[in-house]
Symmetry: C2
């Protein structure tokens, strides 16, 4: 089963993700509907960022779902932290699977909206060693804005 979703860390196989979701649903007395699992499965077989519309279109290919259910399920997945939401100025809210990790660095092209993730030990250390008098950190999101090489090239020509 796991193989279907490609190489993945042992502790975050689709099976364990599904289990986390089930636990959440049971705990909060929500129903375990096939639609919800289909959406979770589709998200975890997808690489990179996506938005509700993209996800909906992918699901429609071999499943009957409504956009409303997609939004509804994304809300649940946000609540149990299996998905992270980004609202980066574009029209769409963007989402990504969360794998249980809470630290996210992103570079965002201010022209085409393309997002890439990266990791940087120095940045992580600097942020995590920050302490506040009246605030307890749980996780962070860093967005570095700028131009990707393609857009920089395009804009130079104009």
């Amino acid at each position: 089963m796991t193989a279907k979703y490609g190489i993945m860390k042992e502790e975050h196989s689709y099976e364990s993700i599904r289990e986390i979701f089930t636990e959440y649903l049971v705990l909060h007395q929500h129903r375990k509907t096939p639609e919800r699992y289909a959406i979770l499965e589709r998200i975890y077989s997808f690489e990179g960022h996506f938005n509700a519309e993209i996800l909906y279109n992918l699901l429609k290919e071999n499943y009957r779902v409504s956009l409303a259910t997609v939004y509804n399920t994304l809300e649940l997945l946000l609540a149990c932290k299996l998905v992270v939401k980004h609202q980066l100025g574009g029209k769409f809210a963007q989402y990504e699977k969360a794998f249980g990790s809470n630290t996210h660095n992103h570079s965002v092209c201010t022209n085409c909206g393309k997002i890439k993730e990266f990791s940087d030990k120095q940045i992580r250390t600097a942020i995590q060693s920050k302490t506040f008098a009246r605030f307890t950190m749980s996780h962070y999101s860093l967005y570095i804005y700028g131009l990707c090489s393609k857009c920089a090239e395009l804009l130079k020509k104009k």
Copy 2:
């Protein structure tokens, strides 16, 4: 004139901000309309975050402007980096004046939603020294999520 806008670093007085805007308008062959300057002035006499609607209502008090012009002008101010835009998941996009500084750190309480800004030299250095192969950084936004002391206290009691 500067006094009207409170204590402000010499190099970022309203006069110099206005000059930056004028230069931008001239360079890009946009017109120097009174509406655009009125909007800029209102933004720079305002403390903290705001959204288009709030700005529009403030302006309407003693000026005849349309919401469309507010959005149009915000777009120009974003382009010349006198204003920064945040899209933090609420319905509204939030804006703030940029003062020429492009670095914004925020702590966000995940319980009550309160946003505070802070500065940290170590974090700034770590981020600004980051380089990318196919990406040119212009500015960044850091959001540290967690609990403010009030909410931490409240949740402990439950």
